[in-house]
């Protein structure tokens, strides 16, 4: 696939406006910060992936033969911590969101560019803390840090890891705060709330959670660290502390946090569906409100992680019924996306393949959420591989699919280069197959009763585990491919036009890659989002006409 490097036409844009490491490390341009984040989280993704591969290799055989059980426990903890806090939470908001929110609302930057840069530094410092914990021996509490194991019994680097998460939490808060203020205060003239792309609505909703939820995990971690360091006994049963209280505080954040992970993915899917079908998203208002509903009601269901924890039966009832209520807006979204395709004009490029993957896998993942939200059934499947499969279906099958789809979709805008289409389609297929082979057997394993966080397991579970491991190796190939061809395309990719997909968002009205200040002239918006009627057939209108004045 090696072709001669294509020379870039001399035009100033955000990538070539200044050169040198300093110009990147001190940048206040949201687009460059997005790329800084992209690099950082890619690192953490592959680190987390490396742990995943080691987990899967260990589970190839029933005996705990590849690594010691201490090591195994550290592997899945570091896998979960890395993937959740240092990859998936910032994955879409801090990269695509950071890049696109100002572009989509016709702003020159986020409201607080310095905070934005600070958030990246904070994130990186948090990551370094966790890396330090990892290199000096790791941590073995599970990503949930349940007390009193984490406070009193674990001999690993709990405080350093927790501190890393604490610090990274502030980057999340800053990102969310920045988005909310930007969306409220920086919209281009004429861009009313109901003309906003759904990408913005979803990011707004996710930002609400970041702002409202993250501080609670922060203070919980402070208490955890204080208890561990000084034995002050906040959660210590020996002096009357209640370990279940820790779980309440932990899940008050960590359940809504799963919606921080899925809402931005839904944001991407709404854009991809509309652009690929060249059609307004069906039921725009419903999809928009559904985002906010998920964010708000998502705060009321955290106790569904605690159905067998010694929480009261009545609290279990409340949390269960609310979990079902919060599932409905997700269902509404799925149905509306499907309806958008009806009578669309559907392009089957790579982003759309990932979109299909997302819709299908999110449906399965979400529906299995209904299994685990069913009180009587969760008693059986709680803390088994069924739950592991449930959340990987949503987080890997859902969010990562959307993330990859979004990366392909906006890659031309971000870099000014096209990715290789055929190779991309092929890897989308590899990811899809590898994914299902990895995680579908885990549903069965879970219902059979294989508990999670098990280093060794009874023989009868082996066949399914072997399938899962085989799938993971296919999945690894599927993730390495895009990384390779994306890097390849930076130099050798075809030069991208300003609007390769014929889409109508404001971000497509500016150049690829965008100029430093995003727009030569701040657009005035007179149309609702996805107005493919006024721009028939998605034709690329000359820039000046793009937004009728």
């Amino acid at each position: 696939m090696i072709t001669a490097p294509v020379t870039v036409p001399e035009r100033e844009h955000y990538l070539n406006a200044s050169y040198g490491l300093k110009s990147w490390l001190l940048t206040k341009d949201h687009k460059r910060i997005a790329l800084l984040y992209l690099a950082t989280i890619t690192f953490f993704f592959f680190l987390g992936g490396l742990f995943a591969v080691m987990i899967r290799l260990e589970l190839l055989t029933p005996q705990g033969d590849m690594v010691q059980s201490e090591t195994y426990n550290k592997l899945f903890t570091m896998h979960g911590v890395n993937m959740v806090f240092f990859f998936l939470l910032p994955a879409i908001p801090a990269t695509l969101g950071n890049f696109l929110v100002p572009l989509m609302i016709g702003a020159r930057d986020l409201a607080f560019p310095k905070l934005n840069l600070a958030s990246w530094y904070i994130f990186t410092i948090g990551g370094l803390f966790t890396l330090y914990a990892l290199l000096s021996g790791g941590v073995d509490t599970g990503w949930t840090f349940y007390t009193p194991y984490s406070t009193t019994y674990s001999n690993s680097f709990v405080i350093a890891t927790a501190l890393g998460i604490f610090i990274a939490g502030f980057s999340s808060i800053l990102t969310g705060l920045n988005f909310i203020v930007t969306i409220h205060r920086m919209r281009a003239p004429g861009l009313t709330w109901f003309r906003l792309p759904l990408f913005i609505w979803s990011h707004y909703a996710a930002s609400l959670i970041m702002v409202l939820g993250t501080p609670v995990i922060a203070v919980t971690i402070v208490l955890l660290a204080a208890e561990r360091a000084f034995h002050i006994g906040i959660f210590d049963p020996a002096i009357g502390g209640d370990p279940v209280l820790f779980q309440h505080l932990f899940w008050f954040y960590s359940h809504p946090a799963v919606y921080i992970m899925i809402l931005p993915a839904m944001a991407v899917i709404s854009e991809l569906v509309a652009a690929s079908a060249r059609k307004r998203v069906y039921g725009y208002e419903f999809v928009a409100y559904a985002s906010v509903a998920i964010a708000v009601f998502g705060f009321l269901v955290w106790g569904h992680h605690m159905f067998v924890s010694g929480q009261s039966v009545y609290a279990g009832l409340v949390f269960s019924v609310l979990s079902y209520l919060v599932a409905v807006p997700s269902a509404v979204k799925v149905f509306n996306w499907t309806a958008t395709l009806h009578k669309g004009s559907i392009a089957l490029e790579t982003p759309m393949l990932y979109t299909f993957g997302f819709i299908g896998l999110f449906t399965i993942g979400g529906m299995t959420g209904l299994f685990v939200a069913a009180l009587g059934l969760d008693v059986h499947v709680h803390d088994t591989y069924f739950v592991v499969a449930h959340f990987h279906y949503i987080m890997v099958g859902g969010t990562i699919m959307a993330y990859l789809g979004g990366l392909h979709f906006w890659w031309p805008k971000i870099t000014g280069r096209m990715y290789p289409e055929i190779l991309a389609k092929l890897s989308a297929l590899v990811v899809f197959i590898g994914f299902n082979l990895t995680f579908f057997p885990q549903f069965i394993l879970g219902y059979l009763g294989m508990p999670r966080r098990y280093h060794a397991y009874p023989d009868e579970f082996q066949v399914l585990n072997v399938m899962s491991t085989a799938g993971a190796s296919i999945l690894a190939v599927g993730y390495l491919l895009p990384m390779c061809y994306f890097i390849w395309s930076l130099r050798y990719g075809k030069i991208a036009p300003d609007n390769p997909w014929g889409a109508v968002g404001l971000e497509w009205q500016t150049l690829s890659p965008p100029p430093v200040e995003n727009f030569d002239e701040i657009p005035i918006v007179t149309h609702e989002a996805y107005d493919y009627v006024s721009l028939p057939n998605g034709s690329v209108t000359p820039k000046k006409e793009a937004n009728v004045r």
Binding site: T141, V313, Y324, A347, L375, G449
Partner: protein
């Protein structure tokens, strides 16, 4: 060994089939919605795929009716699942009145089981088939979780607190017992077997144990060894109240409140005696925290439960209730961490 590929766990408890019914319903529902949505997506993608000459997308009229349909149907379906799941949950949570009691203590990384009749076992639990069994559980260190897949039930085991789990085995056999809550290095080694036995075999097994006496007898011995008798005299003449027949009753506390004497309260009275002080007494009882193991505590509790008016045969708690004429009330229960 020939590889085997099981797809479904054995059903060995009274509610296993009920749980599976809900499971199969949900599997069918998931299959339905996944096929529906996946099918539609693929169908539309093919039918309306963009060709060189294909017409632009058709903007449809957006019907409120459609939106309502696909909001309300999932709502109804999911509430239906909720009700089903919840009723099952009550069934799984609430042991029948005649359930036999067994104590379990979780500890890094083993299960210690105590039968009332005196037998003790580690990582094994023998239960009779056809009889409901209720386990009172606690932990000596971190949180564990008692999980028997074939019985479709589990419950976390917490330090400093008692939790309950119950089941009725329906089929003789040996079933996996797992610890399902991550508890440290050998979490995956904290496993064992539940042996469900025919009632006769079970009786034989029960009496086959060591001659340590019943749990209550062991408790009585401990009660003497720890010199509890110095203060808790039978006639109530000591510095502490007489403990006969208090189990299951409500007793007045210093400060006007009342408390239901249950396992939790007795445990608290021993490890943290001054937290709630019986009416008319001084807070002089020393704490025994650290001096008694969780198992010891269980035997003490069992002893307190068993003390009758005179040295008679141990009375089951239900009977004690009736004697004192006090009903177990829900609200009067310990306000603390039940």
């Amino acid at each position: 060994m020939r590889p085997s590929l099981p797809l479904f766990p054995e059903q060995a408890s009274s509610f296993a089939a009920d749980v599976d019914a809900l499971y199969f319903f949900l599997v069918a529902l998931t299959a339905f919605f996944s096929v529906l949505i996946g099918g539609l997506v693929v169908f539309f993608a093919i039918k309306y795929r963009r060709r060189k000459d294909s017409a632009p997308a058709v903007i449809e009229h957006e019907g409120m009716a459609l939106e309502m349909t696909w909001s309300i149907i999932p709502l109804i379906v999911s509430l239906f699942i909720f009700v089903w799941g919840a009723s099952l949950y009550f069934k799984i949570s609430r042991p029948p009145g005649d359930a036999a009691e067994i104590y379990a203590v979780g500890k890094q990384w083993m299960w210690k089981i105590q039968h009332m009749e005196g037998r003790r076992e580690i990582n094994e639990l023998h239960v009779p088939v056809g009889r409901a069994v209720k386990l009172k559980m606690t932990s000596e260190d971190v949180i564990h979780s008692f999980f028997v897949p074939a019985f479709r039930t589990k419950a976390d085991v917490l330090p400093g607190r008692y939790t309950t789990i119950w089941f009725k085995a329906e089929k003789a056999g040996a079933y996996h017992l797992f610890c399902a809550e991550y508890c440290g290095t050998k979490h995956s080694g904290m496993i064992g077997y539940v042996h469900a036995m025919e009632p006769n075999d079970y009786q034989n097994w029960l009496v086959g144990g060591t001659a340590e006496g019943t749990l209550a007898q062991r408790g009585e011995k401990l009660f003497q060894d720890l010199a509890c008798t110095n203060c808790h005299k039978e006639e109530g003449t000591g510095r502490g109240p007489a403990l006969a027949l208090i189990f299951g009753t409500e007793i007045p506390l210093e400060g006007g409140a009342k408390v239901l004497v249950d396992e939790e309260y007795i445990r608290e009275s021993i490890v943290n005696p001054t937290a709630r002080v019986a009416f008319g007494y001084q807070p002089v009882m020393p704490t025994f925290q650290g001096l008694v193991t969780e198992e010891g505590l269980l035997s003490l509790i069992e002893y307190v439960k068993s003390i009758g008016p005179k040295k008679g045969p141990p009375k089951p708690p239900a009977e004690a209730n009736r004697k004192t004429g006090e009903a177990r009330s829900k609200t009067g229960g310990a306000k603390g961490k039940q």
